[in-house]
Symmetry: C2
Subunit: 383 residues, 2 copies
C-alpha cells in the first residue's frame, strides 16, 4: 500500500475558496437547478417510514436498483436487471471497491483523466499508466490490467468517444480480456439529449459507473455500479467492509424522487441551462482571451483549452486574486507540465464568468507587459 | 492486496432474514426509539438551504465537527477542537482510511472482536493477530503495528475495560509506540449513564472512532474519527479518494438535530429501554435455557454467552426455523470453533425475545432427546 499520496489539488482549491472566490475549479453542478421542491416532498414521504433511518442491505435497496436497471434497459440500450446494480456512496467509491477486489497491479487511463480516479487507484498502491492512443493498448494491456475510460464528455477535456473508437476498445478488450471500468458520470448531459450506448454493453468483464450527483444532487452521495451478477457478488465484501451500505435515507429519497418525477424532464432543464452557460463562457474567452485555444463541448460541465503559458503557475497566481480554475497538470497520471486548463461553467453566474475571465486575461496581459518592460530595461545600458 | 475475503456472515444473515424472522443477529438499534419527530423537523429546516444538496469539504462540515469536539471536551474528559475531528461515512469507513494510510502489515485485535473491523483489515491485506491478555502485547506489538480495541461494551462480548487494564494499555503503547484505534461505538450506552475516559486521551498516536448509528440513527451513516490534527491531515487524501466526503445532507441533519435537542435526554430514553430489554432477555435465558452461560451486560446492545454445543451449527439450524443469532466463531480473527454466541436484545419485541429463546431451547432439547433415543435404539439389540 502506498502511504504518501498528495492531496487532490482540486480538493485543496475547494477548501481554499471562500465566498469571494469566483470558482471555475470544482465539478460542481449549479445548485439553483437542484429540484429542491421535489426533493423536499420526497424527503417528507420517506421520513414517514422509520426504516429510512435503519441499517439496510449492502447492495442497496431493491426499489432503487430496479429503477436504475430500467434506465439502462430503456434509455441506454443495455438490458439490465436489479441484480446487476450495486448502489455506492457516490460513484467515487466504486473505484476503491472494484480495484481492491480485482486489480492486481496496474490500471491504464486516458490522458488527461479524472483526478478522483487517479487518487483512488494511487491510494491503493496501483501503478497508473497513461495511454495516448487506443492502439497502444494492444501492447500495454494484460488480462489482469484495469482499463479506466470515460466515454462521454470526459472529465477534464469534455471529449466523447466516437463509434470507431468504441469499436476499437471492444476489439482490443476482447483480445486482452482486461477489466474495463467505464465511467458514465456525464453521459446524460449531452446538450441535445443524445445518449450513447456504453462500451460495457458489448464487453462482459466490465463495470459501468453511474451517479446521481450531476443529474439530481451530489450532496446525497448516491452512485452505482452496473456489472454482471457474478462480478458484483465478488465486490460485495469490499463494499460492506467499507461503510456497511450507502445511507438508507439518501437511497430512499432518490428512489421517491424518481417515483414521483420524470428524470428526463428535469434533465431538459439542466441541459438547456448548461448549454447556455457554456455558450456564454465561450464568447467571453473569444472576446477577452483570444489566445486561449479550445473547442466548444457538446455536453458535460467543462471547457478545456490551452493557454500560451504554464497553466499551473497561472492558476496559483489567480487563486491569490480569488479566481480558481484547474491547471491540466493534475489530470495527468504523471503530473506532466501542461499549458492546458479546465474551466467549469455550471457553478458560476454569467456575471462572475465574465468578471473572472476578464481578470485572468488582465493578469496575462500585465505579466507579458512587465516582461517587455523588463527586457526593455535590461537593454537600456546598450542603447 | 488480498482478493479472497469471505462475506461477513452477519451481513449474510441480514440479507437472508425476512419479515417472519425473529432476529437477534444484527447490531440493529430499536427503530421505535429513533427520534423521528426531531429528525423530521431537522430535515425540514436543513432542506431550506440548497447547499445541503451540494458537494462539501472532505473533512466534514465545520458546525458538526465543532459539536463533536465539544462532546469530547465536556463529556468524555478529552479536550478536543474541531480540527481534531473528521466526519466519516459510518464509523466503519474509519478502519479503511486509517489502515490505508498508516498500517504497513499487521493489526492486533481483541478476541473475540467486531467482525466489521476484521473484514476491513482483511480486505486491505493486513495480517490480523489476536491477543488474549494485554501483557502479551509487550512481545507482539511493533511501532508499525495497529492495535484495535473496544474499551466499552465491546462488540460482541459486551465487556468494558476496567481502569487497571486501561493503564496497562497506555503503559505498553507508550513503550511500543504503535498506532491505537479505539472504537467508541457503544461508549455512550452504559445503562446508568456512566462515561469512561477514552484510552486515546492518554496516548497521542491514536484514533478514537465514534458513531451516531447507535445513539441517533444508523441509516444516516454518520460517524467520525478523533485524532491529532497532523494525523488527520495525513488521512484526508484517503477519505477524499474514497467518497469525496460524507453526504452533506446527513451531516446537516445530525447537526440540526444536535442544535435543537439535548442528546443526553434522548440517550436516557434509549438506555432505560435497552436495560429493560436486556433484563427481559436474561430472564428468558434463565427460565428456558439455563444451560446457556452468560453475565448480564452493564450497557451496549448484546448478551454474549456459551452453549453446551457448537454454536455455529446451532445457528445454522435455527436460521432454517427463522430465528437468527450470531455464533461467536465469526468474531474470531482465525474463525476458531466456539460454543459462544451473541444475542442482540435491542431490535426485537419482548414477545419475540421470549418466543425465539423458547424455540432455540426446544431445538436443543429435541436434539439431545434424539441423541438419547438414538443411543437407546443402538443399544436395543444388546438388551
Amino acid at each position: 500500500m502506498s502511504k504518501k499520496i498528495e492531496r487532490s489539488y482540486i480538493r485543496e482549491i475547494l477548501d481554499a475558496t471562500n465566498k469571494e472566490t469566483i470558482s471555475f475549479a470544482g465539478g460542481l453542478p449549479d445548485e439553483n437547478l437542484f429540484p429542491m421542491d421535489s426533493l423536499k416532498k420526497a424527503s417528507s414521504k420517506v421520513l414517514e417510514d422509520t426504516l429510512c433511518m435503519q441499517y439496510s442491505k449492502s447492495q442497496g435497496i431493491d426499489e432503487l436498483r430496479e429503477k436504475i436497471a430500467n434506465l439502462y434497459t430503456k434509455n441506454l440500450d443495455f438490458p439490465t436487471t436489479k441484480d446487476e446494480i450495486m448502489i455506492t456512496t457516490g460513484s467515487q467509491q466504486a473505484f476503491d471497491i472494484i480495484s481492491k477486489t480485482f486489480l492486481e497491479d496496474e490500471v491504464l487511463v486516458q490522458t488527461p483523466t479524472y483526478i478522483g480516479a487517479l487518487s483512488a487507484f494511487k491510494v491503493l498502491g496501483l501503478k497508473v499508466k497513461g495511454f495516448n492512443y487506443i492502439g497502444s493498448l494492444n501492447y500495454e494491456l494484460k488480462s489482469s490490467s484495469g482499463l479506466y475510460i470515460m466515454s462521454d464528455f470526459a472529465n477534464p477535456n469534455a471529449k466523447t468517444l466516437d463509434n470507431n473508437h468504441r469499436d476499437e476498445f471492444v476489439h482490443i478488450l476482447n483480445k486482452k480480456n482486461s477489466f474495463l471500468i467505464e465511467d458514465g458520470a456525464y453521459s446524460l448531459l449531452d446538450f441535445e439529449g443524445k445518449i450513447n450506448k456504453p462500451i460495457c454493453a458489448r464487453y462482459k468483464k466490465s463495470f459501468h459507473l453511474g451517479s446521481f450527483s450531476k443529474i439530481i444532487a451530489p450532496g446525497l452521495r448516491v452512485g452505482w455500479i452496473r456489472a454482471d451478477k457474478n462480478l458484483l457478488e465478488r465486490i460485495l465484501v469490499s463494499k460492506e467492509a467499507l461503510d456497511l451500505h450507502t445511507p438508507t435515507l439518501n437511497q430512499m429519497i432518490i428512489n421517491q424522487f424518481l417515483e414521483d418525477n420524470d428524470l428526463f424532464n428535469h434533465l431538459k432543464k439542466i441541459r438547456s441551462n448548461y448549454k447556455d452557460k457554456m455558450e456564454f463562457m465561450s464568447v467571453c474567452f473569444e472576446k477577452y482571451m483570444p489566445s486561449f485555444q479550445f473547442s466548444k463541448p457538446e455536453g458535460g460541465m467543462f471547457i478545456y483549452g490551452s493557454f500560451e503559458e504554464d497553466s499551473f503557475l497561472l492558476a496559483k497566481e489567480m487563486l491569490k486574486k480569488n479566481i480558481a480554475f484547474v491547471p491540466a497538470e493534475v489530470f495527468f497520471h504523471d503530473n506532466k507540465k501542461s499549458k492546458e486548463a479546465r474551466f467549469n461553467f455550471t457553478n458560476s453566474s454569467k456575471e462572475d464568468i465574465e468578471k473572472g475571465i476578464k481578470e485572468i486575461s488582465k493578469t496575462i496581459i500585465d505579466k507579458s507587459e512587465s516582461i517587455w518592460f523588463k527586457m526593455f530595461k535590461e537593454r537600456l545600458p546598450f542603447l
